[in-house]
């Protein structure tokens, strides 16, 4: 019985971790849906958003190191701090500007190219953004605090304690992440399914020429999609940054999003969520149940093995578009 209750706690924690994975996977899905391109830079976008947010919030001077090195000055901060909500809005603005620049400087010149070419471009973009983030805001690990509650949730602990006689340990930040992620997904699904911009986005993903012929501006849609992806990256960056500090390894969470996408399907927003949850729960339960038998540390590889199995048996993922081919 104790084991079962403990497993339930592990399950819940797995769900919460899964939400965090799903947040990152969402950004990938959006861009893939709209351009058929796997955006390698999505993880770095989250990092860049988090760095910018901390920088703005703490009144850091961008490019301070570079300016100091060039002019021999000693600049660090403007000496003010910006309220979290304003800093978030400003960062969102930066992400839109970034989306516009990406369209202007990269995508516009690659219209009609093979997806692999666009994929390579996003790899370049990832490295560039990582460097830019470093030069702009410095490479040190920063703490991010936008006022999200953290630490053990006493409500959950006392409620579960009264039911099972054992208090569950759930981080309040994880609960908030789940709530915010649900809202975000609901908003995104409504946007893609019911708005004309959403319909235009799906049309662009399907066929550029046809989209042009019904009067859709590719450039507008791309700026829009990359802005939304930047916004999702910002949310992911806030969550992960609050959880584990803003550091450059943040860009590696993109790697965890990969198995999530293979499970959920590259084109499905709900798929990203379900995939994230399955991976989150799966790796926690596996570690809990099987981990001790094989010496632990299964969390590092479980997700990828699961994804591999899916690739063999259901390559389009759980919710991906059926692969239709007329012969």
């Amino acid at each position: 019985m104790d084991q079962l209750i403990f497993a339930a706690e592990v399950f819940l924690n797995g769900l919460m971790t899964g939400v965090m994975y799903a947040l990152v996977a969402l950004g990938f899905v959006l861009i893939y849906k709209a351009s058929g391109v796997f955006n390698y830079a999505q993880g770095v976008l989250a990092l860049f958003a988090a760095l910018t947010l901390v920088g703005i919030q703490q009144g850091q001077i961008p490019f301070a190191h570079m300016i100091n090195a060039t002019f021999g000055t000693n600049l660090h901060h403007f000496g003010w701090t910006v309220p979290a909500i304003i800093a978030i809005l400003l960062t969102a603005g930066v992400m839109v500007l970034l989306a516009w620049l990406i369209e202007r400087l990269i995508l516009r010149h690659l219209i009609g190219q093979e997806p692999i070419i666009l994929f390579m471009a996003t790899i370049g973009l990832a490295w560039f953004l990582e460097g830019l983030g470093d030069v702009m805001w410095g490479a040190d690990i920063k703490t991010l605090d936008v006022g999200l509650p953290q630490g053990i949730s006493e409500t959950v602990e006392s409620v579960t304690d009264s039911i099972f006689g054992y208090g569950f340990f759930i981080d309040r930040l994880d609960i908030w992440a789940a709530v915010i992620a649900s809202l975000l997904v609901a908003a995104l699904v409504a946007f893609a399914q019911y708005t004309k911009q959403g319909r235009a986005m799906r049309a662009v993903a399907d066929d550029h020429q046809a989209a042009l012929s019904v009067g859709i501006s590719l450039r507008f849609i791309w700026v829009m999609v990359w802005s939304i992806a930047g916004f999702v990256a910002l949310v992911a960056g806030i969550m992960w940054g609050t959880k584990s500090g803003v550091q450059f390894s943040l860009s590696l969470i993109a790697l965890k999003a990969l198995p999530v996408l293979m499970l959920g399907g590259f084109t499905s927003i709900p798929g990203a969520i379900v995939g994230g949850l399955i991976i989150g729960v799966g790796e926690k339960l596996f570690e809990f149940g099987i981990g001790p038998l094989v010496g632990g540390a299964t969390e590092n590889w479980f997700a990828y093995v699961l994804a591999l199995l899916f690739l063999v048996f259901r390559p389009q993922g759980l919710f991906g578009e059926r692969i239709i081919e007329r012969v």
């Binding site: 908003a187 409504a190 946007f191 019911y194 708005t195 004309k196 911009q197 959403g198 319909r199 235009a200 799906r202 049309a203 993903a205 399907d206 066929d207 020429q209 046809a210 989209a211 042009l212 012929s213 019904v214 009067g215 859709i216 501006s217 590719l218 084109t267 578009e321 059926r322 239709i324 007329r326």
Partner: protein, 272 residues
């Protein structure tokens, strides 16, 4: 000659109006290859205008110029009495010029209904917030657009495949869905790039009937490209004949049929 009149009456009694679109001295080159050489012709309000010619004559290029996919090096494009500057395809579409493609450009992953609804994107006005929340003006608007789309679906007799993903449809039906999407934009000028290519006799007859009905019922001006001489001669009011990028004939089907140059281009000439 028809060219000088402000309007004319077709043999079947339809009245064709003034000039809607005018191409003046169009020349298009791809690198060193001249695809279209100094061609001028017009399209009149309400008529069915065909562009015919052997393979590689430059017909599709001409259509691509009208719809903004290609930009000619020389010449002027006039639409409704105004000279059209260089325009992007989506801007042309917003002017009220819709088109279909020779090798079908539909959104394969979307349902037939969604595909046709994309044709109405430019006439949707409600803000995206109210659309996402399905609220107020957006709801009324979506219903109004759906009614129009359903009318077109009925008209083209594709009710039973409404919800089917386009990727699963056979070729002939895809062509019909593409026509439906173009019609959904309620275009003033409809461009059809080989609407009957690859179809069997029955499908061709269906498509001919739809084209005539569209013209008749909605008063849509239609410019079409076609290989099949028989079909073209039956459908169209006036025909432009192209060969090797040049215009070799222009007139009613009867005039064109008796034009020696046209006969030579199609049947070949014996050179001594």
């Amino acid at each position: 000659m028809i060219e000088e009149q402000s309007h004319y009456i077709t043999p079947d009694g339809r009245k064709i109006g003034g000039v809607m679109m005018e191409m003046k001295n169009i020349t298009l080159r791809f690198g060193g290859v001249t695809a279209i050489k100094d061609i001028s012709f017009d399209i009149r309000q309400g008529e069915i205008r065909a562009i015919i010619g052997p393979n590689g004559a430059g017909k599709s290029s001409m259509l691509n110029i009208i719809s903004g996919f290609y930009r000619p090096q020389e010449g002027e494009v006039w639409f409704k009495g105004e000279r059209r500057g260089p325009m992007k395809p989506y801007e042309v579409a917003r002017l009220g010029i819709a088109r279909t493609f020779q090798n079908i450009a539909l959104f394969d992953g979307m349902s037939v209904l969604d595909n046709i609804m994309t044709g109405r994107l430019n006439s949707m006005k409600a803000g995206f917030l109210s659309q996402a929340l399905w609220w107020g003006a957006a709801e009324r608007e979506e219903i109004a657009h759906r009614e129009k789309v359903e009318k077109i679906i009925d008209f083209l007799e594709i009710q039973n495949i409404r919800k089917t993903p386009v990727g699963r449809l056979p070729y002939g039906l895809k062509k019909r869905v593409e026509l439906a999407r173009a019609l959904a934009a309620e275009p003033q000028l409809l461009l059809l790039d080989e609407p009957m290519a690859g179809m069997n006799v029955e499908e061709k007859e269906d498509m001919s009937r739809f084209i005539l009905d569209v013209n008749d019922e909605f008063g849509t001006t239609i410019a079409l490209i076609e290989h099949d001489m028989g079909v073209v001669m039956d459908l169209s009011d006036r025909v432009v004949v192209m060969d090797y990028g040049k215009k070799i004939g222009d007139g009613t089907p009867d005039e064109v049929r008796n034009n020696q140059e046209v006969i030579d281009a199609y049947l070949g000439v014996a050179h001594d």
